[in-house]
Assembly symmetry: C2
DNA sequence: AAACAGCCCGAAAAGGTTTTCGGAGTCAAC
DNA sequence: GTTGACTCCGAAAACCTTTTCGGGCTGTTT
């Protein structure tokens, strides 16, 4: 692969304000004022400056501007687990909310490693980010970055363990309640709950909502909460055990869509129809799994994009001098498909 | 939620080099030289400066440094489709390769919108990024950003339509070949191919490799390539048609793991055993789908993280004055599981 | 004619760092 | 005592933009 003899095309040096000023025949001060719409610039002069800027395709150096203003218009987005599918929508929501303004986002993945995280935080602070959003991989509280940072911080999805800081999370307890209320509304009374790893706060929180909703309706869970892993295989296994012991089950609420897919397979193999005999509900509303299931899977959507947007807005508010604190939880949303109600 | 009466804790002003110099009793010039390991600084002086820096927990302002050096140590990562699952691993690989150095990554999602993309590119250039990585959502060539940008650009996953630019992509043709060679190696001869949307270059490229490998082995495809959509539903539907017409099929290579899941369901429902009667192969090696299938699904992994890393390295090379050009394709990798060979 | 108001524009400083260049100081040699 | 070599340090410029402040100019009023 020889070097191209045409050579590297000379990269155009980007024009500076000085160049514009020279071309327009004014001082840099005037050029700056003209371009930024400041007062006391003659319309004719302003036009000349704009023409010059256009001609040189000038755009201001954000670094220099940030150095002077003390604000850079950048924020750091610190994730602990990028490949996990929860971070992404949050990240999209945040990027979206910022992108609408003039803010750009530094992305850092700490890989759930504290050392790496500290390293990244330091790097971000050196770059003088205006604020930080910390996205967790689980809903369990996570260690705070510390309260003495020079910029505001918002925690998303996973709350900080310091209650004086601001955290935006999903309301998993109410989500469990919503799911059960939906099942009850469709006439189910013998309801079981197959969840994931009990070590996850998300699993325990949802179970709490489940029990509360059942109690309110004068019902109780069929069997205990089946904790296991967040996998299809667990869903299949747990369903077998559960249906053997409680053949009269008419609804199963699952801790994730993966679990639900396993549950559906197992239910169908035992000759029960979904949703006529047994209703099945998932959690996460993971489109590829839920939409293409047979029948399509009713699920709970955590509105993660909204969590990201809310975190971004909260950071804006803090930057504007109205910091909030405490844990703010956002509601989840039911997505009803064919696995709980016959769609005809 | 009343404002806390403790008030916002005064954010510590970050120390500057001037502060360090003053505390150490030297000039800023000396302080800079001492901290950066330059020559001609007395060891004792250097120690004093380091002590002062430590005491003030000084870290240099990267903005100021970048303004001066002309290099900011930042790159822009432009994705067109963040929620699609292909961008993420690439992004992780790139972030990883950069993170090892001192480079930070600006993330921008253009949402497959040209206007938005131009906007983001401009914003990134204003921030004086040192380079750009453009990650596509499909393997089809995409419009170039233009060759007259002031910084080097590397395209990843989706190549640029300008062959003079550098693109790092996956070798989908060879991937199709690899898949078929594996099936043949396990003794299959009646092989079908159920793929996704024919509008995707990925689907057509893989089919090309499939045909080439079969031809080399003196075989030919059973039925035509079944193009459809990248969904489970299509996998189920296509399998039905195919098995009706060609009952002697002993292997099905699928265009994606989703399609493969549908295919597996359908094959099993027709009473055929996997892999004894029919081998099934997927594509993408999407863990959640492949690892938890019954049996676990043999698939092709596009090594997307490696694509990201390679793109990052290529950008480094370009920054160091050794730009490359043309399309460089990286090999895919077979991940063999239970759907093609009995694991006992 | 002098003073004054009002409008534009330019010089300069600021922001934090790095680098260049010259100067101050020490010591040895002639 | 003067020169020279050498070591260490500081002043200043550079990067690019924004903002403040003062000055020049025109036209009007006393």
């Amino acid at each position: 692969m020889a070097k191209r003899d045409s050579g590297t095309p000379a990269r155009p040096r980007t024009a500076t304000l000085t160049d514009v000023a020279r071309l327009a025949g004014v001082s840099v001060a005037t050029a700056s004022k003209a371009l930024n719409g400041r007062d006391h610039v003659h319309p004719e002069t302003r036009r000349r400056v704009f023409d010059a800027a256009e001609q040189l395709s000038f755009t201001p150096n954000t670094l220099a501007r940030g150095l002077l203003a003390g604000r850079t218009g950048t924020v750091g987005l610190l994730t602990s687990d990028l490949e996990g599918r929860f971070s992404i929508p949050i990240l999209m929501g945040a990027e979206d909310a910022f992108g609408a303004g003039q803010v750009n986002v530094f992305l850092c993945d700490a890989r759930d490693d504290t050392i790496r995280e500290r390293h990244h935080v330091q790097a971000l602070l050196n770059r003088r980010v205006d604020g930080l959003i910390v996205v967790g991989s689980r809903t369990d509280p996570r260690p705070s970055l510390g309260r003495n940072l020079p910029v505001p911080v918002v925690y998303a999805y996973a709350p900080s363990d310091d209650p004086e800081e601001l955290s935006i999370i999903c309301d998993n307890v109410t989500a469990g309640r919503q799911a059960i209320e939906h099942l009850i509304a469709t006439g189910r009374t013998r309801i079981a709950h197959i969840s994931g790893d009990v070590a996850y706060a998300a699993a325990r929180d949802r179970a709490e909502g489940v029990r509360a909703a059942l109690a309110d309706a004068g019902l109780s869970l069929v069997g205990d909460v089946q904790y296991g892993s967040w996998s299809e295989g667990w869903g299949r296994a747990a369903t077998g055990l559960l249906l053997d012991r409680h053949p009269d089950i008419d609804a199963i609420f699952c801790g994730s869509d993966q679990v639900a897919r396993g549950v559906m397979d197992s239910v169908r193999e035992r000759g029960r129809r979904i949703p006529e005999d047994v209703a099945v509900m998932g959690f996460d509303n993971w489109e590829v799994l839920a939409a293409d299931a047979r029948p399509s899977l009713t699920s709970v959507d955590m509105n993660l994009e909204e969590v990201g947007r809310a975190a971004a807005r909260a950071l804006f508010a803090a930057l504007d001098g109205s910091p909030r604190s405490g844990v703010e939880s956002l509601p989840c949303r039911l997505v009803i498909r064919g696995s709980t109600v016959s769609l005809s």
